[in-house]
Symmetry: D2
Subunit: 338 residues, 4 copies
């Protein structure tokens, strides 16, 4: 039974982690931290957890939390995470970091996109990127896993097989990504109020969204050459779900069946990737760790569609999948299996 | 052409006021105030108003705004309003106050429910309560009209005819009220985030909601004896709309047809009240100044249903209706007529 | 490992059953029936089930299905169910019937409310009503369990402890119930179109809703005297969730704490009932088998609030809970435990 | 005062037409037709119209309706419209046809995309396409105006200025279009049920959507050379609104400011087109006849964003705009002006 700590337990990713861990047969949550001094019971912060945990949120230092657990999930915001992670590792636990702080290999790229100096730059090159369908060989032994962004996972999973097979151009890829509002987090802002978001669709952060370099880094690694994407995020009036419509340029002639076959070979044996013939919906994957993918041709324009639940496969589900791999467990544990 | 000022122009009620006034043939918006010093164009604050107004939001004092206009709509929060209204009146304009500050006649009741000392108590007894279907005789000459609350209007309109006809008991009335989220305003709070409200229904402020004494005051005035209601507000995952299900105790035997007939007589000639045979939906009245009402029997329990758009008939629509009456115009102007 | 068949596999309750059973360690789905001859794979009907089952929907007779399984879940509409259930039982399996056909003890009451003659009336008196928190002693040995209605469960769970304790009057109980749209089923009708339901709240079937006699029958059984409720259902613009606001008449003086204590004693040891201090939201129980309950006073009017997920605790979750009890398993299996 | 008839009055476009016409000072609705024999009052079909019209829906032939009116709005489905329109014109009225039957110039193209033989092919070449911002010179004298599709208007308005200015390539244009559910109409189908659409995003009709040839025809006319688009429609969980994200290939170097300037020149004096600096939302234009447009660069990929209300600027609003032009009235009448 692995002892688990959650740092930054008040947000939505922590909530979803706790819901999954409540049913996980090999993990026990021993600590949940917050920077408030309230010592509130976890069910006061997340009423949906009532009865599931006997646990108080405490203002523990990363060192304190790290000493109590085997694995820490770090759900702190970026910049806060890079302060906590070294302390957690020093305290002897292993870490799945759900922030963006350890996802990029190059501290210069981090500083360009996040407009902060990275205070733990030397660790970036050795951190394992926690997308199990791509880096399953490295995750089991990792001390620190950088859990991917939600848009990032969807985009990478939808493009990696075709880039690896070199049937699409690595540049000029247009990603039109649509996300539910929970991706904006639980901190009150005008832009995530119900009355602003409901019955409304819009785009944001065009050319500036921080998931862009992360997508390009991993896909470049997969495809073996520099990748360049135009990533265009949009907000949809729903809680959960990401739907990516991706427009790459095809190299040569390939049928829909051939391309689906490339996907199916690439993801053979992967329990959470479903390459489907129909166009998926976000509802098909809602509250699951699945990523559903298909392709279509619109005349001669290839379109890839991929759907996930942004809080599960885009955050907390994949975090548990990473933990399972780090602990030598079946990666499905707590989600598809018991 | 009446010159109009709007104090507190950044919220949803101001936005809806401006949308109505943009089509009003006898009103010109000459000022919109905010307590920020930004001098932002009104369409920077409310992009939906782009092209409709050549107007900047300015940090004007109530005195300054009051001197520029014939009628001021005060969209400030309670306690701020009772500071501004005396200055507006002193500056010579007439006022429709959309806050709660002047709705209650008794400063003691105000202080009990709002937990603030009223700083302008002597004006309360002379302020006209701006529910045109009840106080149409007093509104035309009023200097200051207190615009009703959204739950309040719905509840009063649904109960007044039967209380006036003395066919229901004035006490023990249960109001189960359901509101869209826009009623919670435009200030970011955890409780009005999309991801908290969407796909969720709950109740709040049971026994403590401040519209309670307002409902009882006006209905007591209408019915001639003390009224006591158990008002139970609920939040629904939608932008706009209030739906009240009201459970009074009937006095004597009355058929559904007789009760509808009492409603139809009471509201004869009222352009915005629709006494209907079917059960209304909030969508039927969405984006309109209508209040739709019907009654049903559930075995021997009478149920009254009433629906409005909380931002129109519950706030900005009735405010324009009040302005029309104060200016001697057709009360439908800008809404049903041109 | 119990062999399970699902009759009527195309609707929402069957879908939720299948999602729960996919994770159930002691149940294997061996058949899913439909009245179409298509032999479609279950994931063609419910794409969200892709990869979870190797199962085709077949046009099996109840007799055929009954012979293949140990337990059959009957998800057919009412009147169809009373034809299938006798055949299932004759074939030797046990049955959880999710329709309304076996919920009422008195065939005359059935015929009054459902406007159909009951073709299997003699079985009604011996059928066990499948609300485990009330009838846990009878469910384990039952051959046929009538799974409760969604509104019904919520209302009964919210009222039973206070009726059993005789602290509320058994008559004159007002139930204001609010449901998400999935309760209306998966058959296309104007009234369950997105564009009709979204951004809209209304009431329906006032005085005529068929869950009324079911509530009264079970609560009468619990309280020992005839119960009479005014049940008023409303539709909310959301997928899932029922929220009941219940207004009973109190007998004598009782504090909120005393009433909560009655609830906590009544439900001691029940894993799926959470008596809470805060007012619950439907989101707190969404995608779970929990029922969250609390009470409030609005001046001297008692209000009981209860929330469930209508498809889980209101249908498929309680169906699995019943199956677990019938099989001698932990009733939490497949939901809270593994 | 123009006499107006509406053929096919039961759907959402007819409802929105009636709402606009209720406030139109120069139009009087004299007939509303349906193919049912019920003679239902219009407010029985559309309860939101209660009190606005004294009008029954009647099973009138196109000839009968055409003789009663000066202008007929034909809201029939495609193929039904091509039967009615000739009869309407023969009866002496002018027609705004909201179906797709008269939008395409080439009957062969119609037959390819709609899979029906066109029974009135000779009229196609003379029908005026009713997009006032493009064909304002032809609409005033037209006997028959083909009202554009909702996706079509948005796409054309977003692309026409740049194609006319020859700063983008006419081929290889990717349109990622997002629509609310009301665009799917009021006929019950599984795919437009609330419980299917809510909390879900997906794509559909990739490569097969019938608005494709309409977009290409009009843009080819505007740009002077053949246009080819990859049009990709998506469904969003909301009532109303279309948001198009369009990815064209730029010819030469142009700044965002230069491109916005091209848009502003092209639409100078157009009351319903708002070229804005911010990224619009569908909510900004909801319940209005506005189309909001802006451009962004994502690195070197140009993105055009455009938003409309699909039922107003995408259907019934532009239909009234067309009627106004046909009658020699201010095109804003009934919408922005009185």
């Amino acid at each position: 039974m692995a002892r688990v700590a959650i740092l930054g337990a008040t947000g939505y990713t922590a909530l979803e982690l706790l819901k999954i861990l409540a049913r996980h047969p090999q993990a026990e949550v021993v600590a949940a931290t917050t920077r408030q001094d309230s010592r509130l019971h976890i069910s006061s912060i997340h009423p949906s957890l009532t009865g599931l945990f006997n646990l108080r949120c405490e203002n523990l230092s990363p060192e304190q939390a790290g000493k109590m657990c085997d694995i820490a999930f770090c759900c702190l915001p970026h910049t806060a995470s890079m302060e906590a992670v070294p302390q957690l590792l020093d305290a002897g636990c292993r870490v799945v970091d759900l922030s963006a702080d350890y996802r990029l290999k190059d501290p210069g790229v981090y500083e360009t996109w996040y407009e902060h100096v990275h205070t733990d730059p030397t660790r970036l090159s050795t951190t394992v990127y926690g997308l199990p369908e791509i880096y399953a060989d490295k995750i089991p032994a990792a001390e620190l896993v950088a859990n991917p962004g939600c848009y990032t996972s969807t985009s990478i999973l939808a493009l990696a097989p075709l880039l690896a097979a070199k049937v699409i151009e690595p540049t000029g890829i247009i990603i039109d990504a649509k996300s539910g509002i929970s991706g904006a987090g639980r901190t009150p802002k005008l832009s995530n109020l119900f009355s602003e978001c409901n019955e409304s669709v819009t785009a944001y952060s065009i050319g500036k969204h921080r998931h862009t370099p992360e997508i390009e880094q991993v896909l470049g690694d997969v495809g073996g050459s520099e990748v360049q994407v135009a990533f265009n995020p949009h907000l949809m009036p729903m809680d959960r779900g990401i739907f990516c419509s991706i427009y790459p340029r095809l190299i040569g002639q390939h049928t829909q069946a051939e391309l689906l076959s490339i996907f199916r070979s690439f993801y053979a044996g992967q329990p959470f990737i479903r390459v489907v013939d129909h166009i998926p919906t976000t509802k098909d994957v809602s509250y699951t760790n699945f990523c559903d993918i298909t392709v279509r041709f619109n005349r001669d324009q290839l379109v890839i569609f991929a759907a996930i639940d942004n809080l599960i496969k885009g955050a907390s589900g994949v975090a548990v999948q990473n933990m399972n791999l780090m602990l030598g467990l079946d990666q499905r544990m707590g989600m598809l299996s018991c």
